[in-house]
Symmetry: C2
């Protein structure tokens, strides 16, 4: 009815149709306020209700305990690479597990601020798998252990939560937050750029155990990078990214209406299984990753012949499967099937893969 | 037709009606792309055209020379308080002129990173005026001089561009950017949170003379805070705040259609003159500021009796004049009349002031 297409972008990515319809309907006058959400003072009562409800719904949907602070920040995950190091390195030691490009960037950024130790990496295997617990070289006196829970580019995901003993676990969940239930109590800090599963770009969610936050950081830490200051001011130290927070609220409401994260997980598992099954049955395409480490959100696949890959991308794009080209460091194709990608979109892609295979084998 | 109200918020604030209508109409499917702007990959061709056009239009509208970089960043002006110091302090010395709350915060933040010198302040006069050139205690060997060009809270504005000799002038223009033409060549760096005259909250525009940028900063500067890195990557080091940038483009198009910044200035001057004239003729209310230092964007006014002020705020709010209450550090009322506030809104407020006065004198 809107002539919309299936958008397999790794992020920013699809938003649920009812969310967009609501945003459209609210645009000129939000709930009788006489203004758009984009025009509201962040200190007004009408906006206060929006941000408070978004936080309450996030806490409910993710089952976030009371001793965790929720922050709505800016700068993306890349800003948090520095913020985590500047805030959570108390003694100056942290362990990093590198399983892809973004965890690699986080590791590199942390080296600016202290002794960042490479506790494990699967780089030599082109990040086709997540390291096992026994491969992790963890230091018991580290301030935290950092992981990226889902690797957007390589299409892998931690299938277990690593045991870090008493050392807090910090996770970048940008590309998997809200895709399934996660035990927040197993993490000291979770952060996520919103532009995959939560909201449009420009919002970053940080969920932090409050005992890890401290106001008194090094002199050279910008105030805007101080988690304790942001938390204490309830994300209102300065003007927050108001509109993405409003969309986040609509998305959370959509998830609640579906039945919460258990229901979301079931839908996502089914979508991913459909696509992985299709690839396993394919004589042309395959997924390069270790089965246990497969991502539920980002599915990479490729033919051995790069001309076939290029042809597939071209024809799929023309057929309305947008942003299906893989990242240059992996090649081939990548289908990002986040929460908002409907099951029919994945089914249509599987049909297209079969049709293409029949024509090109 | 939409039952919209006149919103005098200091920011986020009103957006032009045609901009909101376009955003609403584009919501489900932007120009046949099959997706919302919020859903687009920032690396896609369709989005690339949006951000490139926004930059081109900003350069055209503001007449920005080629040796200036334009960046679309996050974090608001508050993040730039630190970024300016971390990036532009080469020798570690900078002069700050404090004319209100935000310039005061910028000055305080800069002290974290070097020798920030208070070159002038009108704090003792409760910031009712801008200091004159001869009052400025500028150091010829400073790396830059920092000013806030329009003071949102106190309703004052620089009526001249201070002469800083060879020392670059850095200006926070959050609450006056795009309100009138400004000679960019007189500044080394201009920054502005977008949520007053440009776009919804979550976008910060930085315009910097390229010779001031350097990649090689102190080790402890987060990569996301490095202007040279952001400029080199054309605001795409990571995912930018895509949707506010799109709205910024619509706003620039609206300004171009009105006739550019000269035409905008004429409209703004007329609106401000109408309100200031009304206050000058009032026996109940007055504006506390030095005439030469009056802001064209933020007009403060108050009665001597605080009960009258409270009554005015209450009745004005009930009559549909939203967010008219002054900041707690000034008291009374404040009408922020940014670009998108229609002339009729200011006229209606003036009528209301006269009516209120007739009833309460």
């Amino acid at each position: 009815m809107y002539n919309r297409i299936y958008n397999f972008s790794a992020g920013p990515s699809m938003l649920p149709l009812p969310v967009l319809e609501q945003a459209r309907d609210d645009m000129m006058n939000y709930q009788g306020s006489g203004m758009s959400v984009m025009e509201m003072s962040h200190r007004s009562k009408v906006y206060d209700a929006i941000i408070k409800q978004a936080e309450a719904d996030l806490r409910e949907v993710m089952n976030i305990p009371d001793n965790y602070k929720v922050m709505f920040l800016q700068g993306g995950a890349s800003m948090q690479f520095a913020n985590v190091a500047m805030n959570i390195m108390k003694t100056g030691k942290a362990d990093y597990i590198v399983t892809g490009q973004f965890s690699g960037k986080a590791y590199k950024e942390a080296q600016k601020f202290g002794d960042a130790h490479l506790a494990a990496t699967t780089k030599e295997e082109n990040f086709t798998r997540i390291p096992r617990q026994e491969e992790l070289d963890l230091r018991p006196d580290a301030d935290y252990v950092h992981i990226c829970f889902n690797n957007t580019i390589f299409g892998t995901k931690w299938d277990y939560i690593p045991d870090t003993g008493d050392v807090p676990l910090v996770a970048d969940m940008s590309s998997c937050i809200l895709s399934e239930p996660v035990d927040v109590t197993k993490f000291g800090l979770i952060y996520a750029g919103a532009q995959k599963n939560v909201a449009p770009a420009g919002l970053t969610i940080v969920i932090a155990r409050e005992d890890l936050l401290r106001e008194d950081l090094d002199k050279a830490v910008p105030t805007m990078c101080n988690y304790a200051t942001m938390a204490e001011n309830e994300s209102m130290y300065n003007t927050p990214p108001c509109y993405p927070i409003y969309i986040c609220g609509l998305v959370l409401n959509w998830i609640k209406n579906l039945g919460g994260l258990e229901a979301m997980k079931k839908i996502n598992e089914d979508k991913a299984a459909m696509l992985y099954d299709c690839l396993e049955n394919s004589k042309l395409f395959s997924n390069p990753n270790d089965k246990a480490s497969r991502s539920m959100m980002n599915v990479t696949f490729r033919a051995e012949d790069d001309e076939i890959n290029a042809k597939f991308v071209k024809e799929a794009t023309a057929a309305g499967f947008a942003n299906i080209k893989g990242h240059r460091s992996v090649g081939g194709m990548r289908a990002s099937i986040y929460n908002a990608m409907p099951t029919e979109g994945v089914a249509a892609l599987c049909e297209f893969i079969k049709k293409f295979e029949a024509e090109n084998l």
